[in-house]
């Protein structure tokens, strides 16, 4: 499929846009721009829709763009929909430019010096890299964390996919699943958790250029090679961003730094998997705005369906546009549970039938499902997992049925998440 590249510019910068557009077409990409009326405040949903369909957004930066409400709306739509923003400077800009500060600074280029070839290269770089997948459900206890770890361990071990996890939950259960307390304390003391990525200043913060040192390897790398299975560890101090203890300015900085971190991870993995917190908070917004695809695990029970409906509302509200079912995968977790009562009929069949019949999520429901299994429980307490990947069900003895289900489900999710 031809990748669409959105061009955001003001009439004053049309000459640069006219030079760039044919070069993009020559590369086989399709340059797009919203119609003039789409850039009005009343048409924000329609603008978000157009921007979200583009693989990357080129913003021609100039004083005219700085003053433009249309550009501001286009940038907001791109940020809310996880699009890669490439700032292309076409005129002198003040040092305190608010527009430049809101864009991805690590991708910034000067059109007057570097010209069209640099723009083409920047777009090519943006189109490469892994997909961002968020494990998300507004309801808790549906198996987001355990499934994230085990599904993508299967993808790594069976399909040789390179995976980077991001633990975006203040409870940091994904980090606890993989790393024992001693390791977690070491990682925290070395400012190697996601908290250090969020903080711009102070002893606990890390420079953006140092983000590549954040991921902790979860496999033993062979012969000096980098581990293809790694984790940006979670941190309980993330609660500062879910309560009102951090200013809006700090949150804006965290938003921008989080985008930069995800951008770095995309360059080194086939899939960047975000384990998000339940509920709807600033952290949930980060996960939604970064994700190319959302996986919603659902347990065969009534309340899970309510959680799904809330999820659609929250994502639609953050992205500011109607959603497409293809942006989601709904995965039934814990089917064939012999320990529960089937008094009201087979809960698996009832839940599957209800979701299948739903107008929006019906086509997002995966045929594959993960059976209820003891193999998915936590690692045995009296054994040491020196190699963190060994705690996953896929590496442990037994549970053939669940392992096969995990591998099939992971492959189906990665197929759906592909561009």
């Amino acid at each position: 499929m031809t990748a669409a590249i959105y061009l955001a510019f003001e009439p004053e910068d049309a000459a640069a846009a006219e030079a760039i557009a044919p070069a993009l077409e020559r590369e086989g990409w399709s340059p797009r721009r919203a119609a003039a009326d789409q850039r009005n405040a009343e048409q924000s949903a329609s603008l978000s829709q157009t921007v979200s369909e583009a693989a990357a957004v080129l913003v021609l930066v100039s004083p005219a763009a700085e003053a433009s409400d249309g550009i501001r709306r286009e940038v907001t739509a791109a940020l809310n929909n996880g699009r890669i923003l490439i700032p292309v400077i076409v005129a002198n800009m003040p040092a305190d430019s608010r527009l430049l500060a809101s864009l991805d600074v690590d991708r910034q280029l000067d059109f007057r010096v570097q010209g069209v070839p640099a723009v083409v290269e920047a777009v090519r770089g943006a189109l490469q890299g892994g997909r961002v997948i968020a494990m998300l459900n507004i309801k808790g206890g549906v198996g987001k964390t355990i499934l994230a770890a085990n599904l993508f361990a299967a993808a790594h071990l069976i399909d040789k996919r390179e995976i980077s996890f991001v633990d975006l939950d203040p409870q940091h259960n994904l980090t606890q699943y993989f790393l024992p307390p001693g390791e977690r304390h070491r990682v925290r003391a070395a400012n190697q958790t996601i908290y250090s990525a969020f903080i711009a200043s102070g002893d606990e913060g890390r420079a953006r250029s140092d983000f590549s040192a954040l991921p902790v390897p979860l496999t033993r790398g062979k012969q000096g090679k980098r581990s293809g299975f790694e984790l940006v560890a979670g941190d309980e101090r993330l609660f500062e961003f879910t309560l009102d203890t951090r200013s809006e300015r700090d949150k804006a900085e965290a938003f921008s730094r989080f985008r930069a971190m995800i951008s770095m991870l995309r360059t080194r993995a086939d899939a960047v998997v975000i384990d998000a917190n339940p509920c709807a908070t600033f952290l949930t917004r980060l996960a939604i705005t970064a994700a190319d695809h959302i996986v919603a695990p659902v347990r065969p029970e009534t309340y899970s369906l309510t959680g799904l409906n809330m999820l659609e509302q929250v994502v639609r509200s953050v992205r500011g546009r109607p959603l497409r079912p293809g942006e989601f995968s709904v995965l039934l977790n814990g089917v064939n549970d012999r320990t529960r009562s089937d008094a009201g009929g087979d809960p698996d069949a009832v839940t599957r039938a209800e979701i299948s019949a739903a107008p929006f999520f019906g086509s997002a429901l995966l045929e594959e499902a993960v059976p209820y299994s003891g193999a998915l429980r936590a690692t045995p307490d009296d054994r040491y997992a020196v190699n963190p990947i060994n705690v996953t069900a896929i590496m442990r003895v037994g549970g053939r049925q669940v392992k096969e289900a995990l591998a099939r489900s992971a492959a189906a999710i990665l197929r759906r998440a592909a561009p």
Binding site: P180, R383, Y384, N387, N390, M395
Partner: protein, 134 residues
């Protein structure tokens, strides 16, 4: 009875007393063909079970507390021995038994046994599951 049948009987009776032959005829009448044929088979010779290498057994038992494939445990042991004794070892063992075999040219059995124990002690310190509460 045909002459051939008589010849088979004579071959069977050769060197046996009348009492022995009476007992044999009674046995044949009482048992099925299948039982008699199975009894005639010579038992297969079974190879004597090899006694396992006691060092391998001990090391394997010591490393059982580590969650992971045998090759990985052996790799940990080799790395640990190299660190402990400050020796450069470029060994990629296929499992615990192979690891012990490859360590033998460099270390005594006692050193290997002690190495497995100290590896586990080191890991227990680093990867203890004990949570602390503030």
């Amino acid at each position: 009875m045909t002459p051939a049948q008589k010849a088979i009987l004579r071959a069977m009776a050769r060197g046996r007393s009348k009492a022995e032959l009476t007992e044999m005829f009674a046995l044949i009448r009482a048992r099925s063909d299948r039982t008699l044929l199975a009894a005639l088979k010579t038992p297969k010779k079974r190879a004597a079970k090899k006694a396992g290498d006691p060092v391998v057994k001990e090391v394997d038992l010591a490393l059982r507390k580590i969650l992971g494939p045998s090759a990985e445990k052996a790799e940990l042991l080799v790395e640990h021995m190299a660190r402990k004794h400050r020796v450069a070892l470029s060994v990629a063992p296929k499992g615990v038994a192979d690891g012990v075999r490859r360590l033998r040219p460099h270390f005594s059995d006692a050193q290997i046994r002690a190495g497995a124990k100290s590896l586990l002690a080191e890991i227990a310190g680093r990867y203890s599951k004990r949570e602390t509460v503030v």
